[in-house]
Each structure stands twice: as C-alpha cells, then as structure tokens.
C-alpha cells in the first residue's frame, strides 16, 4: 500500500518527521518498507532505518511557472519556444513537449498554462539516464539549435514522479505562480506492507486511523454527504441478492449527465504516487475512493443497463455462475466461469465478475452520460477462488479477498458520487438503493485486567485498557472489573470469545507499545527433561566423520527420476521405481522427492572433482518412499558417504599418491561403527544398485542390515564424467545404526603382565574370506589372545595357483601371570589345527 503523506494528512494531523512516523508505524505492525521522496527534502544522511529513495526539488530552483505564449522555434519543427513567467521575470524556454503543440500560434494564452518550471542551476533527473536510480543533472546555460537555453518546463520523469516524458506537467489552474513546487505538490510516499490481519488499513483512511491511535492524534473522517441535486434514485434500479452468504450487501447510487474529462492534476498525481494509472474523472473517482476509504467500486453505464432491460427498470441480480456460463471482461478476455464465482448480472446475463473485474459490455466509456455506481461486500473465499482460477489479481480483489466491512459499501458510494460530481460535472440522484438482508453484527468481546495480566504480563487498570482500545475506535463499556468491547464497524479481524480476547491483546499491546512491555524469564516450572537419542546419534556421526576427514554436505531433496537414474549402470534398468511426486514442480529437475543419496552425492563429486584432488563427503538426510495404499509416506534418514581421488593431499613431503578405494572407505566405516560401539558388524559380499558387483558388501550388525558399502559401478562413474578410477561409497540406514548402538558398552581391564608377540602366516584357498579366517583365529585364541592384526596378504608362485597367504601378528597376554612358551605354543597349535580343519589352512613355511 503506497501512502502519500499529503493525502494522509487530510485525515490526521502529523507533526512527526516522515522517518519517525515510518518508525512508529513499523513498530506498530504496519511495516514501512520504503519511503519515496517526491520533491520534499530527504532526511540528513546517517542511520536510515527505512529504505529511502527519490529526490528533493530545490525550493528556489523549481517553482510553479506560467506559460503565456507558445511560439514556433525559428529552425526546428519539433521544438517550440515558450514565453514563461516564473513569478519574478519572463523567460524564453525551449521545449519539445507534445502537449504544448496544440497551443502553438494561439497568441497570448488566457488563462496561461501552469507548469513545473526548473530555473537555471536546478537539479532534476536526467530523463535519458539509463541508470537505476536515474542520474541527476543540473541545468546549465547552453545553445540548442541557435537559441540560448538555461531552464526548462519539466516532465514527470524529470521530477521523479513517473516515467512520463512525452509531455510536460500541466498543473491545475489554481497553482500559484512563483510558489516553490515542493510546497505546492511535494510529497513523500510510504510503502507499507499490509499483513492480512490489518487489511482494514489498505486505505489512506485506514492508515490514518492507525496513525491517530499510535501518535495520540485525532482522526478526521471524510465528509459522506454528497451534493445530491438530482431526482430520487427510487424506481431507477432494483437489486436482488440470491445468496447473502456470498454477497452480504449491495448498494447502488446514480449520477446523471456526466461529462467525461481528465480529473484534476493533483488527483492524477496522487493516483500515480499510489501506483494507479489515471484514466478520466469518472474512473479516477472510483479508484480514488477505493484508495481513500477502502471500498472498491464499480461504475456501470446506466443507459446500457436500461437497454439490456428492454427499456425497463434495470434489475441487478447477484448469483453464482451457472454451468458453462461465460463473460467477456473489460480486458476483452472471454472467461469460462466456475460455480464458485459470484456474478453481478441482469436479466440479460452476466455484467461483471463480482468484486474482481467488470464486463466489457456495460463498462463506462468516454460516451457515457449516466452512471450507476455499485458498492458491495463479498465473501472473501469466492473472490480468492475466482482470482486464482482466472489468474486475475486486481486492486479491488486485493481488498475483497482480505475482507471489506459491509458498512463501507454505502460510504464508498456516497464518497465516490461526490468525487464524480466534482470531476465530471454530473448531477447526483437523491438516495441510494441499499440491499442488506442480514445486517452484520459487530463482535462484542468481554475482557478483564486479569486477562491482560495473564497474556501480556503487564498490570493495567480497566480505564487504561479502555483508553488504549478507544484510540482504535473500539466502543468500550466498563462494568466494574469487566470491559465490554464493541468492535468498530470497519474491521472484521476480531474473533469471538477467547479468540477475540487474544485479538484485543494484540491491539492493547500494539498501542501500549511492545517496547514498553518488560522482559521476564519463564517463571513456569521446568518441564520434564528429555533427550533426543536420534538427533544425538546423528550429531555424533557428524562429529566422527568430520573428525575422520570428511566434509558434510546438504543437497536438494527434490530431484527427477532421470537424475537418479544416472546413478545406475545402463543395463540395470531395474523395476520401475515409485517416487513421491510433486503435483506442481518448479522445474524439470525437481519433480520428485529423492529415493537415493547416491545420486545426490555423485552430483556433488561431479561438481567438485576438477577443483579438488581429494574429495571425502557425507550427508545425513531423508530419502522418501511412497506410501503403499493409504500408508504414510516414509521418510528414511540415510547416511551417505563417498570418497574420490587421492588418499592424501599432495604435499612436498607426502609419498602416498594412491587413489582411495574400497578399503579406504571400509576403514572409515569400521572406525565409525567402533566409535558408535556397534557390535557384531559383518561385511558380506553382496552388491546394491549402482555398485560394482564384485567390490561391494552388505553391512550387518547382529544380523540386521545396516546398509551397503562398495565401489560405484564403473559405468555409473562414467555417467558423471568422472575419471576412470575407484569411487567408493556407502549408504547406511541411520535408524538401524541407532538400533545397534550400545551406550553401555563394557571396557576390558588393562594388564601389566608381559605380552608374548608372534606372527602367524596361513595359506588358504583364494575363495576363503579373510574375515572367516580372522574370526576363527580370535574364537580359538580365546581371552588370552588379546590382539589379532592382519599385516600382509601375499599371492605368489611358490604358494601355487589359487592360494593366498594371510599373515597375522598376534599378541598373547594373560591377566594374572606371565605366559610360558609352552602355554603360548599350545594355543597357537590349537589355532592352526582348527584352521586346518575348518578352512584347509596350511602354516606357511618361510
């Protein structure tokens, strides 16, 4: 809502500087997003709480001038010379303004044309500047086509009013020649964000009411008694409301014998500053009134209605659109109507989309003579649905879809008729036709100082509360400790009962001042405290993996099936995957919710591999699995890990230039499960979609699936254009990890008995998994075998085809005594025997 200060001042006295007013409004919930200065002086530099734009017109340099004569330029057809008086002396002013050409050669003009005159040295906007905001320029003496020029009559663009630059500003005749233009029409425009609860302030009067309340000033309400010198409206039009739920009130007024002409310049200026385009006196009157008091209005050409009624009295009927009904709106679009759209019709058919836009057939034109003026109130739901179905936002609908009080309908019509009379010279018919089947009952809320204390914490007396509410025009009756509060007849935002109390609390707090309410620190007892085990675990995983050298990433949860398919080798077209699909995707890349973290991670590797020799990533986030018949969509928190490139950062010292592979990632996963104290973890050869069939493993903990680990399938690596080298990744289910975590793990004692160290090399068939050999060694060694570490895997000719040697370094230690060689040998022999028997292992002879 753009609010010119000059207009606001018609309804409330304002003595504060504009920025201070903006500050007060902002604190009271009418956030001023920008102050645009149009001619008035800007505040001194320094802290600008509110964004500021625009520029000031020099009081001595830019004044009201009068053009007495428009004369031809001796050498240029497209330029004219003006004899112009600036209140001090006469000047010859050169201009190419198109709107002066009609006065060319007309001699001395009577009355003269009032213009915005910029003297030599004045600073104005350079109309040809491409910059934003446009650059300023200072008028200097120079010769243009042989004529000396040092000053000019300004266009709106040159003064920062609008983009208009074809013609110069032609002021109303009452502008006083020589007066500083800033005094005559300088302004500052507040751009206020209107939240839905203060829709009542979507008008100059509405904002003025708030200003009056927060600055303790008096509101001046507009005059609602137009000069009505015509015949009575009675018998000129009839109203029929089909459904009062949709259309609580419908009011008509009539003005006859209008003469369509432009409205006064200052009216046009205000409309422009408020963001609307002036049309003519008639249309401007409806828009001006809407901005002024908040009631959108619609003007019908009365003679068209009479004609449509076959010469009879027009009957206006409001009703829902029927099946298949259409209406051509005044933007010349034929619109198919929905059953929720409310129409203003007559017996011949639809006239307008109620509260949204008029129909082409009955709109006022430059030939209109008699005007029937509609002011109504509509159910906001129908308006919203129609605006969205027809993609047709409008200033009128903006207000109706936020709710306009029915009381504003007659007020709007009366006010608008008077503006029409002034700006088109018509005669207003006496009276209104007012159909109001079920008058709206304004809410009454009962309130006590105890309620205020309970919600806001502050102690106020009944009188203090009443004073605050009265500033906003609430009617308040005090009955001992009780306040009976009547909602004023312009607002619809106060609820009933408890809700109404809460609504009033906001009004009391706002006007009292949020900043005056002291701080306190929750005297309420502490709730029962509880941790969040899942989150704690996630955070522990984050810390662990970051500590192990991995970077956390967070990727988009939205993707497309095609993007996820990149993480599959071509032949693995797999069964059709179901996705959670968006019904209104924002782009072709974001049509579904992801089912897989692998694709997300590979995209990040793809993006970074050219900048980094070593990439080590992890993400913890949900994947989404669609519901099976009425079940909830599953959000499965998944941990993804991915490594790519060199194990170590290249360095002047480093000798390790190896590329990370399966065992690098397995080491990380082993480290992670050890940090989390998950026991019984096994790695079984099994592949998952997108992984290398021979280089991946299923991870289990005590038989429960934790996830998969492996090198990404080489063709998938190719899909992302990544170098042809191992790219290990793991996908783990966070809930399963959590289930395996044992916070109460046992710690074994440490002993000082001398350990016995020895190596053991076993030759087994290639197919025998090393994991099996190691667990047999451990099992057989029992408690005395404290450590088993594989330090070498060897394959070679002397072992024979299909054989490998696994070399372990073993540490034996007894808790209480020094082991003898004999005791150690006995355990060792047991281990070797068991391995011979179970996996056919042979001791390797060196």
């Amino acid at each position: 809502m753009k609010v010119p200060i000059s207009w606001l001042k018609e309804y409330v006295e304002i003595n504060l500087p504009v920025e201070e007013l903006a500050h007060r409004l902002t604190l009271a919930g009418l956030e001023v997003e920008e102050i645009r200065y149009v001619g008035l002086p800007l505040p001194a530099d320094g802290n600008q709480e509110t964004k500021i734009s625009g520029f000031a017109w020099g009081r001595d340099e830019i004044v009201v001038g009068e053009v007495r004569e428009v004369m031809p330029h001796p050498d240029a057809d497209r330029l004219v010379l003006c004899r112009l008086d600036d209140g001090k002396q006469e000047h010859t002013v050169l201009t190419g303004a198109s709107n002066l050409f009609p006065y060319l050669g007309k001699g001395e003009l009577d009355p003269p044309l009032k213009v915005a005159y910029a003297r030599e040295g004045a600073t104005i906007i350079d109309a040809y500047s491409e910059e934003d905001p446009a650059a300023l320029t200072t008028l200097k003496r120079k010769k243009i086509r042989g004529v000396e020029s040092y000053s000019m009559a300004c266009s709106e663009r040159e003064l920062g009013i609008s983009e208009e630059h074809e013609g110069i500003i032609l002021l109303d005749a009452d502008a006083q020649t020589g007066m500083p233009l800033a005094d005559y029409m300088g302004d500052a425009v507040l751009d206020i964000a209107i939240t839905p609860n203060i829709a009542r302030a979507a008008s100059i009067l509405g904002v003025a009411r708030e200003v009056a309340a927060i600055t303790d000033a008096k509101l001046r309400t507009p005059d609602l008694e137009p000069v009505m010198e015509g015949n009575s409206i009675e018998g000129k039009a009839v109203i029929e409301i089909t459904n009062p739920e949709d259309n609580p009130r419908f009011v008509l007024g009539l003005i006859e014998n209008v003469k369509i002409q432009p409205s006064p310049y200052l009216v046009q200026l205000r409309l422009k500053l408020a963001g609307l385009r002036p049309i003519d006196g008639l249309v401007d009157a409806t828009n001006y009134t809407m901005l002024e008091i908040g009631e959108p209005l619609h003007a019908f050409d009365y003679d068209v209605l009479v004609k449509r009624a076959g010469g009879q009295v027009p009957k206006i009927i409001t009703r829902r659109a029927e099946q298949g009904e259409t209406l051509t709106t005044l933007d010349d679009v034929e619109r198919k109507l929905d059953d929720f759209t409310v129409l203003v019709t007559d017996k011949a058919g639809p006239l307008s989309l109620a509260g949204v836009m008029g129909g082409a057939d009955s709109e006022v034109t430059s030939d209109t003579v008699n005007v029937l003026l509609e002011g109504a109130s509509w159910n906001y739901v129908n308006i919203r649905r129609t605006v969205s179905a027809q993609a047709l936002p409008s200033e009128a609908a903006y207000r109706f879809e936020r709710g306009v009080h029915p009381e504003l309908a007659p007020q709007g019509v009366l006010r608008c008729l008077e503006w029409m009379r002034k700006w088109t010279g018509g005669t207003v018919a006496k009276g209104l036709v007012d159909e109001y089947p079920h008058p709206f009952e304004d809410v009454v809320v009962e309130l006590t100082p105890g309620d205020v204390k309970r919600w806001l914490g502050i102690t106020l007396t009944t009188e203090e509360i009443a004073d605050l509410l009265k500033k906003l025009d609430f009617g308040v009756e005090i009955k001992q400790d009780l306040l009976v509060v009547n909602t004023p007849p312009h607002r619809l935002d106060i609820g009933e009962g408890m809700v109404g109390k809460a609504d009033l609390m906001e009004e009391i707090a706002r006007i009292y001042g949020y900043d005056r309410i002291p701080e306190s620190y929750l005297a309420e007892g502490l709730p029962v405290q509880a941790g969040n085990r899942e989150l704690d675990l996630e955070e522990k995983i984050r810390d662990s993996l970051a500590g192990l050298g991995l970077q956390e990433i967070v990727t988009y949860r939205m993707t497309s099936p095609a993007q996820e398919l990149r993480a599959r080798p071509p032949q693995e077209k797999a069964p059709e995957i179901d996705y959670v699909e968006l019904s209104n995707p924002i782009s072709a890349e974001k049509t579904v919710l992801r089912r897989d973290l692998l694709a997300s991670m590979l995209e990040v590797v793809e993006k970074n591999f050219r900048n980094r020799d070593r990439i080590a990533l992890f993400e913890i986030g949900p994947v989404f699995v669609p519901s099976e018949k009425g079940q909830e969509i599953q959000e499965i928190t998944t941990l993804g890990i991915c490594l790519s490139g060199k194990r170590n950062l290249p360095s002047w010292q480093s000798t390790d230039r190896e590329i990370m592979g399966f065992y690098d990632l397995k080491g990380l996963v082993e480290e992670l499960v050890s940090i989390l104290h998950i026991s019984g973890v096994k790695y079984l050869p099994e592949s998952a979609p997108g992984f290398h069939p021979g280089k991946s493993a299923r991870i289990e903990a005590d038989g429960n699936l934790l996830g998969y680990l492996g090198e990404v399938h080489p063709q998938v690596v190719g899909n992302y254009g990544l170098p042809d080298r191992p790219l290990p990744a793991a996908l783990l289910d966070v809930a399963s990890l959590l289930a395996g975590v044992n916070e109460l793990y046992e710690v074994t004692p440490v002993h000082d008995q001398p350990p016995v160290l020895e190596d053991l090399a076993l030759v087994v068939d290639e197919e025998v998994p090393a994991g099996d050999v190691e667990s047999l060694v451990r099992q057989t060694g029992g408690k005395t075998l404290r450590e088993v570490r594989l330090f070498d895997v060897y394959r070679g000719e002397q072992l024979g085809e299909g054989k490998k040697s696994l070399a372990y370094s073993l540490v034996y230690q007894h808790p209480e005594k020094t082991l003898t060689d004999k005791e150690v040998l006995a355990i060792r022999n047991k281990i070797v025997k068991r391995l011979e028997k179970e996996v056919g292992a042979q001791l390797r002879s060196w």
Partner: protein
C-alpha cells in the same frame, strides 16, 4: 720417586689442558694412566721398596692417579659439551616450509548454526522435537489457524504432492514451515498427560519447502527452527525475555533486541524480533542495509485456536512460539550474500567454515 710422580702429574695436567678432541684424550689416558704410565709403574714398583718408603710412595701414586682421573673426566665432559654445541649449531631446518597437513573434515554451516541454537535453548530447558517433512494441509495450515483460502497462505507458496484419490481440502504437501510440529508435539503431549498436562518447552528444527524461484535471496528448501513454550503462567514478557536472552547468547552480550508488531495466523499477539546489527553496532552497514537492525525471528503468543487444536485449554494455558532461519543467521554472521551457496555444495565454500 715422589718427585718423579709430582713432576709427571704436572706434565700430564699441562698436556691435558692442550687437548681438544677425544682421540687426543684417549692417547693421553693411555700415556698417563695406562699400563706403562709413570703412575702405574710406581704402583708396580711398590714391592721393591722398603717398608718405610712403601706407604709414602703408595699414597703419593694414589693421589696422582685420582687427580689425573678426575681431570680426565672433567675434560671428557667438556669435550662432550663442546661437541653438542657444535652439532646443534650446524643443524638447521626451514621453519617456513609448510607443515604436514592431516586431512580434516567439516560440518555443514547450517548444522553448525543449528547446534548453537540447540545448545542455547537446551540450557534454558528446551528439548529438541523433530517431525516429518511431508505434511497434510490439515496440520500444516488448518490446525495452525490458516483456514482454506485464507489470505495468509499467500505468504507460503506450497509444493503439493500427488496422491491417490481426492483429498479435497486436505492435500499432501511439503511442509512450508516447522510449525506443524507444534501440533504434533502438543497432541502427543496432551494425549500422554490428558489431565493437567505439565509445561512444554521444545524447539523444532527441520527442512521446509516453498514454491519460490531459486535466487540469491530465496530457495525452494530452507531450514527453520521453531520454538514452543506452553504452561499455565507464560506471558508476552516471558517471550521477550527468553528471546532476548537467546539473542545475547547468539549474537553477543551487548546485543540489543526490539519487538515489532506483526502477523502470523498461529500467534496472537504476533511480533518480529530485530537484533541491533552486530556487525556495525547499529550504525548502519551493508548487511543491515543501513537500518542498524537485523530481522532475526518471528514470534508471538500461541493462538487460542492452536492451543485447542493441540489439546490445551486456552482458558488455563498460554504459551509463546517463535521461528527463525538458520541459513539467514549464518548469512548475516559470515557476510554471505547468496543463499544458493548452502545447497550448491561447492567445497571451496563449505571448507571455509
């Protein structure tokens, strides 16, 4: 004989003085303390001496031996020290060469900020409650006092999810804010304690989604941290105090706060909390756009309708709620001008935290 010994001692000590390395010392030791040295010869000759002479010569020889051995040890220590000093003087490394870097990992900036928020509210007795990202219109909007077609829905453009069958006014959607978690948390709480439920203090973090074009200022996904306190004596003063305390811990002890009236359908009264710009101290800078204030969070007293939907009697209970954006806070604190950095996962950005 004593004279000879005394002379030999003097000669040895003079020679020792001139010695400058270990080899010379070794030779000296063999010459003056070795088998054929004057001292040792003197010991050997004791048997040939008279009974009277024997103790005198023996004593003298012993004195010389002790003196020479002691002098020799001293020399040895001196030579050792000299060698260490020389060796240290010759060993030099270039301390300006880069160190051996261990690869270090890092936590995403949003999660770092979230942790700080968890910690601060955790200290004030708030526990963390998380809820689902796919929601229904009922919980995301209607139970939070956004009836169907309510104009406040305009501020939260929504991603809807395809579903089988007509869900009428209750479509599935991606949550547009973390506020539906309030409803879940309150309902769980009041069904667990149907009579006289104890107070609630929770914060609700999580990813939210809005149908907005991705630009430097807006994203389709963003995190939010919501907070909720419900009890029998909670007032707007508590809201101001708790959130100002938060601001002081998050942004520094001197952080100033101010509360402006605002509107959210699920709170009444509603407010925005601004924090005095902690970068320029309120003088105005590019981060606060010259205003001296930064918009940090929205808040308000829980709307009676929302309390009822959560299972609380608004005649007895009251509460406050608030919500903030951890990415926005991170952006302000680290002068990040483009929100797209957060999900772009350019390591050159992420590694800087």
């Amino acid at each position: 004989m004593q004279e000879k010994l005394e002379k030999n001692k003097q000669e040895a000590l003079d020679a020792l003085d001139k010695i400058e390395d270990q080899d010379a010392l070794d030779r000296w030791q063999s010459q003056y303390l070795g088998r054929n040295s004057v001292v040792m010869e003197a010991f050997k000759s004791l048997g040939t001496l008279s009974k009277e002479e024997r103790p005198l010569v023996g004593k003298a020889a012993n004195q010389v031996k002790v003196a020479l051995e002691s002098a020799s040890r001293e020399k040895e220590t001196q030579l050792e020290e000299q060698r260490i000093t020389e060796s240290l003087a010759s060993e030099r490394i270039d301390v300006t060469l880069p160190g051996r870097r261990t690869v270090s990992g890092n936590i995403h900036p949003t999660n770092r900020t979230l942790r700080e928020i968890y910690r601060i509210f955790g200290d004030m007795g708030f526990r963390i409650y998380r809820s689902r990202e796919v929601e229904t219109d009922l919980v995301n909007f209607q139970m939070l006092n956004f009836p169907p077609h309510h104009p406040a829905r305009d501020m939260q453009d929504t991603f809807f999810i395809k579903s089988e069958g007509d869900r009428a006014d209750n479509p599935l959607m991606l949550r547009t804010h973390t506020s539906p978690g309030q409803i879940h948390a309150m309902q769980e709480h009041t069904s667990k304690y149907p009579d006289d439920p104890p107070p609630i203090r929770i914060i609700l973090p999580g990813m939210c989604y809005r149908y907005e074009q991705i630009t430097s200022r807006s994203e389709v996904q963003f995190n939010q941290v919501e907070g909720l306190a419900v009890g029998k004596s909670i007032t707007f003063q508590d809201l101001k105090g708790t959130l100002s305390n938060f601001a002081r811990r998050m942004f520094g002890q001197s952080a100033k706060t101010r509360f402006r009236a605002s509107h959210f359908p699920f709170t009444e009264p509603s407010a925005e909390m601004d924090v005095g710009c902690f970068l320029c101290g309120g003088k105005g800078c590019s981060v606060c756009k010259g205003a001296g204030w930064l918009e940090i969070l929205g808040c308000g007293m829980v709307h009676p309708t929302v309390l009822i939907n959560g299972g609380f009697d608004p005649e007895v209970y009251s509460g406050f709620a608030f919500g903030m954006g951890p990415e926005r806070i991170t952006m302000m604190r680290h002068h990040i001008e483009d929100i797209r950095y957060f999900w772009a996962n350019d390591l050159r950005f992420l590694e800087q935290f």
